[in-house]
Structures are given as structure tokens and as C-alpha cells.
Symmetry: C3
Subunit: 328 residues, 3 copies
Amino acid sequence: MKYLNIFFKKRKKTYLHEVLTYLNIKNKKTYKNVLINNIQNLDQANKNDITFFHSSKYKDLLKVTKSNFIITTSQLSHLLPKLKSKLIVDNVLISVAKITEFFYPNSLNDQFENKYINIDKKNIYKNVKFGSNVVLGENVKIGKNSTVGHNSIIESNVRIGNDCIIGSNVIIKKTLIGNNVSILDGAIIGKKGFGFFPNKNKNIRYPHIGMVVIGNNVEVGCNNTIDRGSLSNTIIGNNSFLDNQVHIAHNVKIGKNCIITGQVGFAGSSTIGNNVMIGGQAGISGHLKIGNNVKVGGGSGVIKNIPDNTKVMGYPAKNIKKFVMENK
Amino acid sequence: MKYLNIFFKKRKKTYLHEVLTYLNIKNKKTYKNVLINNIQNLDQANKNDITFFHSSKYKDLLKVTKSNFIITTSQLSHLLPKLKSKLIVDNVLISVAKITEFFYPNSLNDQFENKYINIDKKNIYKNVKFGSNVVLGENVKIGKNSTVGHNSIIESNVRIGNDCIIGSNVIIKKTLIGNNVSILDGAIIGKKGFGFFPNKNKNIRYPHIGMVVIGNNVEVGCNNTIDRGSLSNTIIGNNSFLDNQVHIAHNVKIGKNCIITGQVGFAGSSTIGNNVMIGGQAGISGHLKIGNNVKVGGGSGVIKNIPDNTKVMGYPAKNIKKFVMENK
Amino acid sequence: MKYLNIFFKKRKKTYLHEVLTYLNIKNKKTYKNVLINNIQNLDQANKNDITFFHSSKYKDLLKVTKSNFIITTSQLSHLLPKLKSKLIVDNVLISVAKITEFFYPNSLNDQFENKYINIDKKNIYKNVKFGSNVVLGENVKIGKNSTVGHNSIIESNVRIGNDCIIGSNVIIKKTLIGNNVSILDGAIIGKKGFGFFPNKNKNIRYPHIGMVVIGNNVEVGCNNTIDRGSLSNTIIGNNSFLDNQVHIAHNVKIGKNCIITGQVGFAGSSTIGNNVMIGGQAGISGHLKIGNNVKVGGGSGVIKNIPDNTKVMGYPAKNIKKFVMENK
């Protein structure tokens, strides 16, 4: 499912040679009249998007990508299909960061949002109940019978459905929220992820232009932190419930009907199936695939993919029967 | 110790046949003139309360309960004493949720509280120092020499003793607080617990009508989350100190003189003795009994009851000597 | 590096005999005209400071301390150099707490700060962008091009450098912040540490007069809690990045270019080297020394010192090769 990104303004009418000039790439004249639409992951890129290939573990995606323009290194370039245009750089991910910023000039600005409206004058919110001292950005949409608690901050263009309960001291930005969702007190949703290029003396920040997409009937607990995606989105599926102090890093996708208990943490880019239950304080490492109907015991540390219908526990997490046997 | 629940208005003059009608139970005519006072756990119910029996592990409590009206399933009903009235349902806990909501019609409303008073006009608080932008509900009582920091929200009927220090950005609801208590910045106390009936597409929320009861000389750290009880209360005993980012789920009872360090988490309904020390990031599973003078090492995962005067460490937590021996 | 403590007012012109009277020490007449400047740790004390010796594990520091006046117990006093004045007490740390409070009379006051200025009237902040409802104490210094988000509270005398991004709902006190620093939403920096003397019925709080010192180019994640030092400072070195929900206890020193991911916790007084990477949910026990270029795997529990250039994982953390081998 694709969501239109309404939070970051994209540069219009961009020529490939402009992008290459920005990256200091030499053979740019060849591409003088080529228009480029966006920068995307291999599997999501269209014909007119630039994409990138930075690790051989993604080589299967090279066969399916629709993009014709692939940023890569000279070491990796032999893996590319012959008909694709190879754009050779020293560091693929730093180049991707630069191109992202080029397409989305405001994407590295992480200051608080300074545009806010006077709620009392906006009678478009007449079916919404607001607490005291709410800060509302421009063009926020909130459905009927929803409530927003005291001191909460909802930045521009956020969408909140019907019958939602937004608590107090909540901060929401770059986020789409379905119907009948509860966001409990102190939750912070949609800030940029913890993604950057480590660099002595001054790390290089990576622009995060993804969103957080929250389905229907979801509950997000107190003091949760849910970071938005970098290029793709962070997603919480329908009817999933998160307890207090849960941390969800960028690009994590959580399925439907999941139950995530207190202080659980997800490192970036993991995908969690449907009907998954995760016990308190468990941690899920990055870039993993957790199947459907999986149960993870409290305190576990999951560092491998988990197939469907499996119960695991331990650190590192293993089949729960094995864990119980070993810890008799 | 029983505390009067001042936060949830109970339905008055309720007949048993009304409750049974609400649950779609057939044999209701038998009980036409029986008045029912409340819904309670087996051990806390009085003669005129309804109670419930949903698991054979509580069968010893059937011998002591004063209640005459016991909700149960047909499978479990043979365990009930002959003289008790058996009220047979398909799912005991869902029926309890419904009855709780029937007795306490506002108990499922978890929106922010919209009634707040103008502190400046309330000279009953003249011995209390308030920060800027404090939101105070109706009928809040705060003792002398107490202070309430900036942006804090204290909902209706909360009781705070003398010489208390309430920090900034704190949220307190459904809570009784003793004297000389510090609630540090960002703590969220008294929201409903993470209790619900998992149900495909739309979980069924459970009304939580318990309180949080905090003794004297307690300290609650920054960004703590302490959920109120479901039917019973969540309790923090006198002189117990909690560090930052601690999470305490519903119905947990912590004794006196306990020391709970940073990022510790308690799943629901565990009981912790007096003089217990718990190291950083340790987790205590639900429905456990931790004895007096117990020491739990940092990072431990406690999944079994721990007897008095024991030191444990590890995941799962075991006797500390065994842990040290195995990890030499 | 020493930083002038601008947050706690020190008592001026203090005679040693006044301090000893306050502690109920008898032989005070000997010191009638001796002026004392401060109370300090053994290694940081100057000639005119009082210091203290409470454990034989610090006996090497007795050889280097410049202080002539050492608080200790009768059991430990034989370890002191002959030329030092021994000030014998029953409990060294409680005496240190009392002396600290004697020198810094306001050091035990942890109420919210009630002095705040009207930002609009302060044109010294004309190069700073403020959100709505910001509370600013007296004499706060904020460098040019910095921003402070909605509802944030910055207490008196805090220093914030140029080009800093302070998020919304942030609380900062007793803290010095360098240039180009991001403090993300909901972070709470500079509250007193979790240090006190356990005492039945009423614990004795310890005055924490240290600061938090944050270098240049640092990022502090959402809902982090960073406690100030007790006598020394809590320090975050240049270009270190902290993810969400990190907890840093008092006196922790983190080096340069460190990467600390989500939900990591540090117990008090540990020292972390430069270029250290710590995975999600890992915990570092108190009073440890973690070397330079160390990598700690996610979920690890570090309970021993770690030498330079080492990778560790597990609970308790061990060499990562050993961990992988044992968990095949």
C-alpha cells in the first residue's frame, strides 16, 4: 500500500544532470535532458526515479527494479544489469542522503514547527474537543468525536481519524492516524529516526522523509516514541496495541492485532507479522522478519528472523521449549 | 487496607436481575428483588457483591468468599460451593468487564479531563506554590507547603498530601498521594492499565476502576509510568524510591522502603515485599510474589516467585551465587 | 577540564570549626582560624578543601590529594598520611552530604523553579526562535540561530550554544550545552541523581551539586533522562549521539563520537571512552570503565570494566566471539 507523502515538499522538474552535478559526478552530460521524479529504494522505484545499490545482499532486487538509474560503487557495479545506467560514487548512502536533501530541501530541518493556528477561530474543528494550550499546525485534519488533551502539539498536515483519543502532552508530526485510535499521554510520534553517518567530530545527519502510518483501532501507550521512516514509512497495523514506554525505530512495520507490552524496543527496519505478542522489555534487532502468530517472551532479545507460529524466549531468543529445558 | 474509591461514580440501587439482563443470562427471574452493591474479586467481595471464578487456580478463594453470586462457566461450576448462586456465562472476564461498566458507566472513558478550575480564584490553595500553565481538575486536594511545577495536569478528586514536590510536565489522575512525596518531571500516574480482551479487528477494552495509592516519603522518578488498578489498586508503599523511566503496570503492589532503579519494569498484578532492591533494567513478570528483603540484580528477568531474604540475578533470575558460579 | 559551577551558590568565608560544629565533631578548637573553601573528591580537592575517604579501594588517591582535611572513620584512619588532619565521623557519606548542604544551602531544594522571565521583553534573545508557552529562568544564555520548542522549560543560568535545536516539552536545568546540539522532544536534563542514604521510614536525600555538561554536535533523543552529577559532573562528549529513551545516571562520563541506541541505561559514575557504540536496551552497571572503540551488543548487561577496542555481548557481557560460540 502506498501513501502519498503530504509532509515533505518535493522539488519539481529535476534533471538528472542537476542531481549529478550536486554529487560531483563527471559523466553528467550524457543525461542532459533526462527528467528525474524522485529517489527510491530498489523495489519501490519507478522508471523515472533514481535508486541505489550499496550491498550485494540486495542483488535480487536489481532484477525487479524499474529504475534505470542506479547509484552504486565501482566495486559493486559489475552486479548491475547491463541496460541500467550506473552512477558511480564513493559512498552510496552518503550520496543518497545528499540526493534526498536535494529533492526535499526542508527534510533536514528538525526544529519545532513555528506555524500554528488559533483553534478557537477554526470552526472546522467543531466536532473535536480540545484541552487547554493545544498547539495545532496548519492544515491538520481531525475527524469527528475525536479529542486532543492538554498541551498536545500536532504539527501541520497530520491526519487524525474519527473517534480518536489523543492524550495530553502528546507530540505528533508527519503522521497519518486512522479511526478509533488512542494515543496516550506523553507519546512522541513522527520525529526523525536515529539514522546518520558516523563521522569523526561531526556526524552527517540523514534526511528522513518517511511518515508514521497508524491503522484503525490502535492504542499507543504513554511515553512511547515512534520514529518516522527514512525513505519508506513506519507502520502500525489495525488493532495493534502498544503498552507504555515502547520504542519503535524508523521503518519498522508492525502487523495487525499485535500486542506489544511495556518497554519493548524495536531497532530500525524490522517487519513484524500479524497477531504477534511481545512480552515486556523484549528487544527486536534491526532488519529482521518476525512471522505471523509469533510469541516472544518478556525480556527476550531477538537477533534472528522468526518463522510463523513460533514461540521464542531468551537472549538470544530461541524456541521456548529449548529455553525452558535449558533453564530448569 | 481499603481505600474509598472517589474517582468512579457507582450506579446506585442495582438489582441482580438488571445485571443479568445486561449479560443476557436467562434464569434472572429468580433474583427479582435481590439488590447488588458492587462487583469484586473473590477475596474482597461482600455478601451483596457479585464476584467471579474464571480459573481453577483460584479455587481456594471459593471457600472464603462472602459473596453469594458467582459468575463462572459451566465447565468450572462444579467447583462452586453448593449454597452459592451460579451465574453461568460463556466468557467470565468479558462478563466481568461488562458488569464493571454497568456499575461504573464512565469507567471506559479515557479521554483527557475537560473540567478544570481557575487556580488563581481558588484561595483554598494559598499554601501551595503553582508553576505556570498548571491544569487542575475539580475538587483536587493539595496539602500545605506542596508545590506543583509548570504544565502539570492534576485531574479531579486527586489527593496530594503536605510537603509534596510535584515536578513539571507531570500528569496525575485517579491517585491518592501521602505526605512528603516527590513526583519528578514527566511522570504519568493513574492512567488505565494495559488490560483488554484481544479480539480480531477490534480489541475489547476492560474498564479499570482501581486507583494508584502512594504512601508517605515516596519518590517517583522522571518519565515513570504508573498505571492504576483494574478492580484493586496499584500501591507504592511508604519510603519507596523509584528512579527514572520505571514502568509499573496495573495492580502491582510495592512494599515499604523499596529501591527501584532506572528502567525497571513490572508486569501487572505482582506483589513486592518490603525493603526490596531492584537493579537497573530488571523486569518482574506478572502475578508474582517477591518476598521481603529481596535483592534483584540489574538486568535480571524474574519469572518465578522469590522467597524472603533472597538475592537473585540473571535471566531467568536465579540465586545470585548460582549465577556468579555459572558466569565465571 | 574544570567547569565553574554557576548553578549552586556556595557559602562564603567558612571556617573549619563551623563545619565541624555542624557535624558534631569534638576537637574543633584546634582549627579555629582555618578557612575552608569547598568539599571535594580526593583527586579534585585543593589545599583549602575538605575531602573524604570512605573505602580502602580509594587509598591510592590518598597519596595524591592536595587536601589537608580528610573526613574518615576511626577504622580507616590508619591509612591516612601522617601529615593530614583526620576528621573522624561515624558515617563518612552522610557527613559529606551534610557538609555539602552546609556549603550549598539550596542544594536539597528540588522544587520546580519559580523565577521566570517574559521572553517577549528580553531582546537579548532576538536571534533565538521560541515556541509557544516556553518557560525561561533568569540569566539563561542561548546562542544565535538556536530554537526552543513549545512548552519547554529552561531553568536559570543554563547555557545553550549557537545553532542548537531544543525540542518541545523539554526540561533543562543545571546544564551547559555546546554548539550545534539537538535536544529532542520530551528529554529531561539536569535533575538530581538517584542518590540517597536508605533509611527506614525516611531515606536521607543527598545534595547533588554537579552539572550536566554537553559538548558540541551532540544529539540527545526523545524522552531521555540525564541526571546531573553529585559532586562531579555528568558529561556527554562532542559528537556523541543518543537515541530515544536513554537513561544516564549521575556522574556518568561519555566520551566523544559515541553512538548510544534506544533504551540504553547507565547506572551512576561509569566512564565511557571515545568512539563507543552501544546497542539497544544494553545496560552499563555503575562505577565501570569502558574503554575507547568498544562495541557493546544490543541487550547486553555490562558488569565489568571493558578494555579498549573490544566487542562484547551477552548478560553478563563477554567477548562477542565467546558469546556467538556459546549461542550457536
